[in-house]
């Protein structure tokens, strides 16, 4: 990255703002702040940041609403910060267009990992080849190989893997996956994902019961991890 990425933090709690301010490495990130939803939306349109960190528990309008309104006119990556137990809000925010999430309390390391992934997706052209320690997916040729050998996947297995690979590093919600592979009508059939993710893991992971790449985000969706 040539210049510092501009990150807009929309967070009402003083303590969290303070530690994030101190944590941002000056050369890498420049932090902008807003203390509630409405001023956050305004700041976003004024400053056009590279990334938005959005707390879901805001005093004026809730984080999900902020996500919706932002997505009406901008595609800046949004990472939502949620408290444990707010599963529903997280999923709704992700389905409304947020790119990823972090559960409080989180460490700075986790935060940077998520931010990196979100920024990478923004800057790059659409993904063509995704390489992971376990396998490689070529989205153009529609092939998957493992240790040099091609892996045979059924059409749906491939579709599922491709959906995860296109958003490599980011979480994809259950609903988004089901809609992409089977259609909107199947948005509630979470057991499809259980079955198919199990099949993919058995074909692509060294230890399917302890996956390194095809990760479950409990209650939310799945993630194809690229920088383990």
């Amino acid at each position: 990255m040539s210049s510092a990425a501009r990150v807009l933090l929309i967070e009402d709690d003083y303590g969290i703002r303070q530690f994030l301010r101190a944590a941002m490495e000056p050369g890498q990130y420049q932090l902008l702040e807003a203390v509630d939803g409405l001023s956050g939306i305004r700041r976003c349109s004024e400053t056009r940041p590279d990334l938005v960190l959005l707390d879901l528990g805001l005093p004026d309008i809730d984080g999900v609403e902020v996500t919706r309104r932002l997505r009406e006119w901008c595609d800046t990556p949004i990472v939502v910060l949620s408290a444990r137990g707010q599963e529903r809000d997280k999923i709704v925010a992700l389905d409304a267009g947020a790119d990823d999430y972090l559960t409080k309390p989180f460490s700075v390391g986790e935060l940077f990992a998520r931010m990196r992934v979100a920024l990478r997706h923004r800057r790059r052209d659409p993904v063509v080849v995704v390489t992971t320690p376990d396998f490689t997916v070529d989205l153009d040729a529609r092939t998957v190989s493992r240790r040099g050998e091609p892996v045979h996947l059924t059409p749906n297995e491939y579709k599922l893997l491709a959906a995860l690979a296109r958003d490599a590093g980011r979480v994809v919600t259950q609903r988004q996956l089901l809609a992409e592979v089977w259609g909107e009508a199947y948005a509630q059939e979470t057991h499809y994902l259980r079955i198919y993710m199990g099949q993919l893991r058995h074909k692509l992971e060294d230890d399917p019961a302890q996956p390194r790449t095809l990760i479950t985000e409990p209650g939310v969706g799945y993630r194809l991890l690229v920088d383990n």
Partner: protein, 460 residues
């Protein structure tokens, strides 16, 4: 008086005056006295005022009619006034009884507990009937408490059982009576009276009325108590929920800043102190989570968010979540293909395995090998989590599942981890227990009921 009037008044009017006298006597005295008075009046009238005077004979036969009419009227008057007096007596008695019942009701309305009410009723009836009273209350058919007035007498006899069995007033003798205390919802007890005077039927009516008043009061007390209990339960539920959401959000917010700031310091190489702050803030967060889990699980009527899950996947997530804490302990998972999808609350079951693994991490040395085996059987699906560590102290296999149980050196948590595991298994209709492996180390057995059906698999 009549002789004074005589020169001025007609004999017929004198007769009226005599009748007046008879009536007065009848209204004051009894039937017999009035009768005698009327006969006596007629005689005097005859002797003193009817010619020939001073004899009982009469000159004019018409006077016989007069005497006859006088007698008849006198008798009628006597009868009527006697009856009136009797009715007045009965009415008085009724007023007395009603007043007594009213006072009993008032007395009972002050009472709060069932014991107080029984005491009040016993005292009242004892004084009203001048005797000894015992009250026995029953609950679900068996005797509950016995209250008796001062010298007390036996309530255990046959009469009591008969009274309870038939729900009717039993007369043991003309002084002893056993009255059932019958409420709207059923028999509440027995009221036994041993009176010093004879008990008339009006007394029995009064006793039954008293018993019925007592029954109403007892039922009212019961309902009021239940209402109170419900209100208290609802209030504590409200408080519990408020507490939960407070813990969830308000306590976690400063904790986020603390652990986040500490992690930043650690990254920037600030040294041991920063690491301590970070570790301790994680520990605090962990303990808050434990409390939160336990409180939520102990909420009555907790609803599981059941969905189809793969045990292999849930176990995998749990291992991933505890990876840092497990350190260099190796975990091997054996999950055969014939294990069906399970109907589980994913978040809770993942928490269960996380707690189990954390427990193992705390109680075993570095490099301990952990094995997780999933086995599908006909009625259950079994998961066995075993380790090659020192095992469980013999005799403690059940005790470790109790709340706040911690092995001596463990300070990391509140000791709720395994208790939470058990609560979660119970919610899923399964069970968990621990034992030592023959080859050394501990073994945790989890049994989930096997689902009878499987969801439809998608078609390619």
């Amino acid at each position: 008086m009549c002789s004074l009037l005589q020169p001025y008044v007609e004999p017929t009017n004198l007769a009226m005056v005599f009748l007046l006298g008879v009536t007065l006597v009848a209204s004051r005295c009894g039937y017999v006295e009035a009768l005698l008075a009327s006969l006596f009046s007629i005689a005097i009238f005859d002797v003193a005022f009817v010619p020939p005077r001073w004899t009982l004979a009469v000159s004019d036969v018409q006077y016989l009619i007069t005497f006859g009419a006088m007698l008849a009227v006198a008798l009628l008057v006597v009868r009527l006034t006697s009856r009136l007096r009797e009715q007045a007596q009965v009415a008085d008695e009724r007023v007395r009884q009603t007043t007594m019942l009213y006072e009993l009701t008032r007395e009972l309305s002050r009472g709060r507990s069932k014991a107080e009410l029984a005491h009040a009723a016993a005292k009242f009836v004892a004084s009203a009937f001048d005797g000894e009273v015992a009250v026995m209350s029953i609950r679900n058919g068996t005797p509950e408490a016995i209250i008796s007035s001062p010298s007390g007498f036996e309530l255990k006899g046959d009469e009591t059982s008969e009274c309870l069995a038939r729900g009717e007033l039993i007369v043991a003798s003309d002084r002893n009576v056993f009255v059932p205390v019958q409420g709207a919802q059923g028999l509440l007890g027995v009221l036994a009276v041993a009176s010093r005077r004879e008990l008339a039927s009006s007394d029995r009516v009064l006793l039954e009325a008293s018993a019925s008043t007592l029954a109403s009061a007892l039922e009212r007390a019961q309902l009021s108590q239940e209402m109170q209990e419900t209100r208290v339960a609802a209030e504590s539920e409200r408080m519990r929920n408020a507490l939960l959401s407070s813990i969830s959000h308000d306590l976690r917010t400063p904790l986020t800043a603390i652990s986040g700031a500490a992690s930043a310091l650690v990254r920037q190489g600030a040294g041991e102190l920063a690491r301590t702050i970070y570790q301790e803030s994680l520990r605090l967060n962990h303990q808050i989570q434990e409390l939160l889990d336990m409180t939520r699980l102990r909420t009555e009527g907790i609803e599981l968010a059941l969905e189809w899950h793969s045990l292999e996947e849930v176990v995998g997530s749990a291992i991933s979540r505890t990876r840092e804490m497990l350190g260099n302990r190796h975990v091997a998972v054996n999950s055969p293909a014939d294990v069906p999808l399970m109907r589980l609350d994913g978040a809770l079951v993942e928490k269960l395995f996380v707690n189990l693994l954390e427990n193992i991490a705390v109680h075993t040395p570095d490099k301990t090998r952990i094995e997780i085996g999933i086995v599908a059987q006909s009625e259950v699906v079994r998961v066995i989590v075993s380790d090659s560590g020192p095992g469980i102290t013999p005799g403690q296999e059940e005790a470790i599942f109790e709340r706040f149980s911690r092995a001596g050196k463990e300070r990391q948590s509140l000791g709720l981890g395994l208790a939470i595991c058990r609560a979660i298994m119970k919610l899923h209709g399964g069970r968990i227990w621990a034992q030592n492996r023959q080859s050394g180390g501990a073994e945790f057995h989890l049994e989930f009921p096997r689902p009878e059906t499987q969801p439809e698999a998608p078609v390619e």
